[in-house]
């Protein structure tokens, strides 16, 4: 009963108090933005705490510095004449200089807040071991270099997946019970495996056995000189990872949304709309798609969030030079600035996604009343 009212009355109150709605949206946006900023700060600080292992990593790094310096002293011909005492002092001195150069002489709490500020302002300093492809030590340029490929891969894959599955799901809900519908239902459990898992099989079949597509990487080595050929080569390298993303989820998402559409099309108000004689396209848009929109938006935003973190293994398996693979490399090298950098980037991207989700959600679901009833009921 209430549902019919809300869908039908949706536009009316908005028209009645347009300026009030705008003010509410503005205030709401501001509040949400502020809370998100605080959230990001807490999230990044937590990440920094974890990334430093409570100071444990510092000890490892200090040990590495000591070892490097004592090795370089032992191999230095000019220092042969020094006495043991002198040499030890010299070594201590060098270690102290190196420690203060890397800021390791300050207590961890002080450093963690410095890391936090630097991280939040994206002033990520220089990496300890990793270099960018252009040879820079700046974390920012290392990350910047990697962001593009990740965006390319994940955006292509996820957008393709999202739109194909929504339309496929609508198509299926229209003719449920048909052969293709049954096949999709039967195939839905295959989505239990993640994308990288299908990636392994795709590599096995199309790179290993058939040799049609490359095993991994983003462009041929050496890259073709002309931009068109280079783009073609990138597309060739994209096919398998994007294929893995789509294959891994298409059946489940289609099944899930089709079921949602079917449930909503068996509601009384849909029957009523049919009885009123509305065309089926209008019923689908206004009475089926409309109430399922919040769920679909949520699920798409979650897909986007999965997009960022899901990249790590997929990129590792395919040798795709993106943020995910960088994260893995940084973690293997204990390169704390880069790890913190990737986590900050992830945090910002995720915060942005959540922010957009909030706004879109408020717009598409009129029952979540802005600034009113929803929270204070």
């Amino acid at each position: 009963m209430s549902k019919i009212e809300t869908t039908a009355d949706r536009a009316v109150p908005a028209r009645r108090s347009a300026s009030g709605t705008f003010a509410r949206i503005a205030r709401y946006t501001l509040v949400r933005g502020l809370t998100l900023v605080i959230t990001v700060i807490i999230g990044v600080y937590l990440a920094i705490l974890i990334a430093n292992g409570g100071g444990y990593v510092d000890k490892i790094r200090e040990g590495q510095i000591r070892e490097q310096i004592s090795l370089s002293i032992a191999g230095n011909e000019a220092l042969r004449d020094m006495t043991m005492q002198e040499r030890r002092e010299y070594e201590q001195n060098l270690v102290a200089i190196e420690l203060s150069r890397r800021g390791l002489d300050q207590p961890f709490m002080v450093r963690s807040f410095r890391y936090l500020w630097n991280g939040l302002t994206l002033d990520l300093g220089s990496a300890e071991y990793l270099l960018s492809d252009s040879g820079s030590r700046q974390v920012r340029s290392i990350l910047g270099e990697r962001l593009g490929p990740t965006l390319l891969l994940m955006a292509t894959g996820q957008l393709l997946l999202f739109f194909t599955s929504v339309f496929f799901a609508l198509f299926l809900s229209r003719r449920y019970g048909s052969v293709i519908d049954r096949i999709v239902v039967a195939m839905a459990p295959t989505s239990a495996a993640p994308a990288w898992f299908y990636g392994i099989f795709l590599i096995l079949i199309f790179a290993g056995l058939l040799g049609w597509l490359p095993f991994g990487g983003m462009v041929d080595a050496p890259p073709p000189p002309s931009p068109w050929l280079r783009a073609l080569s990138v597309i060739k390298h994209l096919v398998l990872p994007v294929g893995a993303i789509v294959i891994s989820s298409i059946f489940y998402t289609s099944y899930y949304w089709r079921t949602f559409f079917l449930i909503y099309s068996s509601e009384d108000y849909v029957d009523m709309a049919k009885a009123k004689g509305l065309p089926s396209g209008a019923i689908e848009r206004r009475y089926v798609l409309r109430p399922t929109l919040p769920t679909i938006v949520t699920s798409f935003a979650l897909t986007l969030i999965g997009l960022w973190t899901g990249a790590i293994v997929l990129e590792t398996v395919f040798g795709w030079p993106g943020i995910g693979r960088l994260t893995q490399m940084a973690i293997n090298l204990f390169d704390t600035p880069v790890i913190v950098g990737t986590v900050v980037i992830y945090a910002y991207l995720l915060a942005l996604t959540v922010f957009l989700l909030d706004i879109v959600y408020a717009i598409v679901d009129p029952r979540v009343k802005l600034g009113g009833g929803e929270r204070r009921s």
Binding site: Y56, A192, I200, G208, T342, R375
Partner: protein, 446 residues
């Protein structure tokens, strides 16, 4: 009880549920079998024991049953030891402490492919004078090839495959190929009975000499071996209980708490909803996998520590938003209003009216989550963060991946753990889908 019986009766009418349940039952049986036949400590020893445990198995051998599908038969390992078969050794006392200790290793070789390696191992007991051996290779057509002369330490290994002198004598081919090659066509195996003749000489009273010959094959056991000669079967078997435990515990632990929290958050609203949403936002902003990787790297690689973090993070993870959006709609329903009107308590409304409403959605999600967590373990292992002691499916994949199994054509190495992962995942997922329809009457016809 009758409800359970009804459930089973209904399940039986769904073929996918029957398949799923049977897969799960088989997996449980395998898990129990693995834990009974290979106790935990034995599994760890077999997997982490070091080279001595794996000495007698070939490297990167394919599963033995592959021969049933091939016209050209691949060799299995041939292992002959004088300690186990004393008839291989003849000892003759020459007086004055001097004695010969000859060994004759005779074996038939009718395979169509060359072995992967040939090695000999000697053990000797002596006080000061080390025994001497001279080793000769006799081919089926009677050619004699001198291999080497050795003075044997307490334990001596002679890797024929790595003896460059033998290789030179054979005209520059690898010994394991040259020694077995047909003289007329070096690419073919000369089938027949081979002999390895060892003439041993000990110089002291009471001194003994024993030897063994291992012709490493190209196939081994039911599952083959990896790059470190380990039998993959051990990891396949032991991966089963680990995967099941990890998947089930994580799914149960996270989904129930998440749902209850989401219902409470929506129902009470106010600061509870606010706090839960804020925590959720922080958790959402923490990238799960990097966090898990960092925990694995800096704190503990133990699979159970990781499990704890997974549950902790996924309680407030994305699921809570999905449930929340469902509960928000549920909360607007007329029957909740009716319940409130007749004065139902908060707990009653949450547990009797709100939670049951989304249970139909929870059931498939819960069962569908099991494979997700099974694969999460594999994911972490593929990133090199598997449990350090336990052999698991994910670690097999990781080993295969890092040693370029796909690139080198060792497909079995990837396919076996992948097959088990898929079967387990499918089992739970199929059951979940069938349960979905049973618990959700609206879906029944769909």
């Amino acid at each position: 009880m009758t409800r359970l019986a009804n459930l089973f009766r209904e399940l039986r009418s769904y073929p996918s549920a029957v398949a799923g349940v049977s897969v799960i039952v088989i997996m449980v049986i395998i898990a129990i079998y693995a834990m009974v036949t290979i106790p935990y400590s034995e599994a760890v020893r077999l997997w982490r024991g070091g080279d001595n445990v794996w000495l007698e198995t070939p490297r990167n051998a394919r599963p033995a049953w592959i021969n049933n599908f091939r016209r050209e038969k691949l060799p299995e390992s041939i292992i002959m030891k004088t300690t186990e078969d004393p008839s291989l050794k003849t000892v003759m006392d020459l007086g004055g402490g001097l004695a010969t200790s000859d060994m004759l290793f005779e074996f038939d070789y009718y395979y169509d492919a060359f072995p992967s390696e040939i090695s000999m191992f000697f053990t000797a007991q002596f006080k000061s004078a080390r025994p001497n051996v001279s080793i000769k290779w006799v081919t089926p057509d009677g050619r004699e090839i001198r291999l080497t002369d050795l003075t044997v330490r307490q334990s001596e290994s002679y890797r024929i495959s790595q003896d460059s002198a033998v290789s030179r004598r054979l005209g520059g081919v690898l010994p394991e190929k040259g020694l077995f090659a047909d003289p007329n066509d070096p690419s073919k195996v000369n089938k027949g009975t081979y002999q390895v003749v060892v003439e041993g000489l000990v110089f002291e009273e009471g001194s003994t000499l024993d030897g063994s010959l291992i012709v490493y094959g190209q196939v081994h056991g039911l599952a083959g071996t990896d790059h470190r000669r380990r039998d993959i079967m051990v990891a396949l078997l032991w991966g089963t209980p680990v995967a099941l435990a990890f998947g089930l515990l994580a799914a149960v632990g996270s989904s129930l708490t998440t749902m209850t929290l989401a219902a409470a958050a929506v129902w009470f609203g106010g600061w509870i909803d606010y706090a839960i949403r804020r925590i959720n936002e922080i958790v959402m902003i923490l990238p799960l996998l990097p966090i898990l990787i960092m925990v694995g790297l800096f704190y503990s690689r133990s699979i159970w520590a990781i499990l704890g973090v997974v549950i902790l993070l996924s309680i407030f993870g994305s699921g809570i938003l999905t449930y929340r959006s469902m509960f928000l709609q549920v909360k607007q329903s007329g029957y909740i209003e009716a319940a409130r009107a007749y004065g139902a308590s908060n707990a009653r409304i949450i547990f009797r009216y709100m939670v049951p409403k989304v249970i139909p959605v929870l059931i498939p999600q819960f069962v569908a989550q099991v494979p997700n967590y099974v694969f999460l373990e594999a994911t972490l292992a593929v990133l090199g963060l598997g449990d350090p002691v336990l052999p698991t499916w994910g670690k097999l994949l990781n080993d295969a991946y890092t040693s370029g199994a796909l690139f080198n054509g060792h497909y079995y190495w990837v396919l076996e753990p992948a097959f088990l992962l898929v079967v387990t995942g499918l089992g739970f997922a199929m059951l979940g889908f069938a349960l979905d329809r049973i618990f959700n009457p609206r879906l029944r016809g769909l």
